[in-house]
């Protein structure tokens, strides 16, 4: 492919007969070669690379930890969503028949998902087991606890205000002594969780930007370090694309190793924390377990960090390589 000498190709000097298949193969081989060469460059000059990769790892660990925390918080929150239940405390003077009719009536209510009836005996025995007042309770001559009907509203009515409306509706019924719906704390929890999520989102964004900038700056420095080599490449007719490629691949590698470090540190951290989480969960009688990153999330993390590394290098490579022109002595 000679620009100035049409006859060069015909003369055989530059003649290359490549089919489409061979070209595709050559393209991939060329790219793989560059990809490995970039790894080799990192290996040959490891100190700046290790430092960069470590910084990237830490930068990526923070948003990933936030992601893990948000994910676990969500599972806890879902657990607490069932707290949007309405407890109806019934009058103690209802007959068995009245009770059954009332339960049926509430169950058939169009806004109700399901009901759970907790009789006063059930409640008492549960209380005996959990409170440790077993012996003291046996001194009581009658059961002081009321029958309780736990009403789970349909998902559409589980939010704060429709659930409160539903509660007032049930409280109007004459079988109900009073109802209880602890909604304020749920609202507050939701608000706090949203705040935490938004904070994490913006912090994560900032840290991702910092990854792009760190990779960009490292690549910029390594381009400046290899100024002489780039000049020679330009002198012997390398296109800008050819010169850019190894640096782009280096950015990709930085992203990959940074992501790997982030993943490892998350796993270590989870391992370190899991003990204390289990203790807390046991104290709260919860079977909550800290969930780490799944395989697909891990692959996403790696792909994302590689993408960030690539975009970081892409940002600087083009401009920086344009700036280097061979001009000292020809």
């Amino acid at each position: 492919m000679s620009l100035l000498f049409k006859q060069r190709g015909a003369a055989g000097a530059n003649q290359r007969k490549l089919g489409l298949f061979a070209k595709v193969i050559a393209f991939f081989v060329g790219n793989i070669r560059h990809w490995l060469a970039a790894l080799g460059d990192i290996w040959r000059d490891p100190i700046p690379s290790i430092l960069t990769v470590a910084v990237l790892g830490v930068s990526l660990t923070l948003p990933s930890i936030m992601y893990v925390v948000a994910k676990n918080a969500q599972s806890v929150e879902q657990h607490w969503q069932s707290a949007a239940e309405i407890s109806l405390f019934l009058h103690t003077d209802l007959s068995e028949k009245q009770l059954q009719t009332f339960i049926k009536q509430v169950e058939l209510h169009p806004k109700v998902e399901k009901v759970v009836f907790v009789s006063n005996e059930q409640a008492l025995s549960e209380f005996e087991q959990l409170s440790g007042f077993g012996d003291a309770l046996s001194l009581l001559d009658s059961n002081p606890l009321p029958n309780v009907l736990i009403v789970v509203p349909l998902a559409d009515y589980a939010f704060a205000s429709p659930a409160a409306d539903l509660l007032t509706e049930f409280e109007q019924m004459r079988e109900v002594e009073f109802g209880k719906l602890d909604i304020e704390w749920l609202r507050r929890l939701n608000a706090v969780l949203n705040l935490i999520k938004d904070t994490m989102g913006s912090l994560g964004l900032l840290l991702c930007i910092s990854v792009v900038l760190i990779v960009g700056n490292t690549i910029r420095l390594s381009i400046i370090n290899r100024k002489e080599e780039i000049e020679v490449l330009k002198l012997v007719g390398a296109t800008d694309g050819f010169i850019q490629r190894p640096f782009l691949f280096t950015g990709l590698w930085y992203g990959f190793f940074g992501g790997l470090i982030a993943w490892l540190s998350i796993e270590l951290m989870l391992y370190y924390l899991s003990g204390s989480i289990v203790t807390i969960a046991d104290l709260y009688q919860s079977d909550f377990r800290l969930a780490g990153l799944s395989v697909s999330e891990m692959i996403n993390l790696l792909l994302m960090s590689m993408g960030l590394g690539l975009s970081g290098s892409y940002l600087v490579v083009r401009k920086q390589i344009l700036l280097i022109e061979p001009d000292s002595s020809i």
């Binding site: 492919m1 000679s2 620009l3 100035l4 000498f5 060069r8 000097a13 530059n14 290359r16 050559a26 060329g30 040959r44 002489e228 080599e229 000049e231 020679v232 490449l233 330009k234 002198l235 012997v236 007719g237 390398a238 296109t239 800008d240 050819f242 022109e325 061979p326 001009d327 002595s329 020809i330």
Partner: protein
Amino acid sequence: MIRFEQVSKSYSGGVQALQKISFHIQPGEMAFLTGHSGAGKSTLLKLISIMERPSAGHVFINGHDLSKVNRKQIPFVRRDIGMIFQNHRLLRDNTIFDNVALPLVIEGYGLKAIRKRVETALDKVGLLDKARYYPNMLSGGEQQRVGIARAVVNTPPILLADEPTGNLDPKLSLEIMRLFEDFNSVGTSVLIATHDLGLIARMKYRTLTLTRGRMVQDGLEASGANGVES
């Protein structure tokens, strides 16, 4: 092959490097470019390899006006020009083989073709047995020969050399010049910038003499040229 038409080059700050230079080097011709340091030799070579653009006038290679070559096409022009530098400009971290192979790798040759061509080029400059060495393990003359092998490995029709013998003793210089003659004898146009007038006098080739950016002589002999000291 290389034609200059009223080419002037001034750098910012008003330094006039070249003034109204015109000459034509025929295909297959070998010529010397001489003059004091600062006479504009390097600038002239830079205009051919488009490291600089002329302020006025036109440079043609093989009838193509270089002012019509855009930034993206420059690499392809340079692939047709073998360039040799006084300071060799070899990559220190690469072996001799890899240095010489560079132009071929850039053009996307296959491994087999690369090996064949690099070995031919290294054989030509007598360094085939040092293909696995690194540049700093070679002497100055050997490094220069590696530079020449790199310049000719893709058999370019034009060879430019800027003070190729600048750091070499007379015997080595002559060896290098013989190499250029060999390449010239197979049809390559060769333009060598040098201030080694003794060497030029021995070689009997066309000599372009520059003084303060002007072409003062274009002919066979350089030693009698006005304003040129030996």
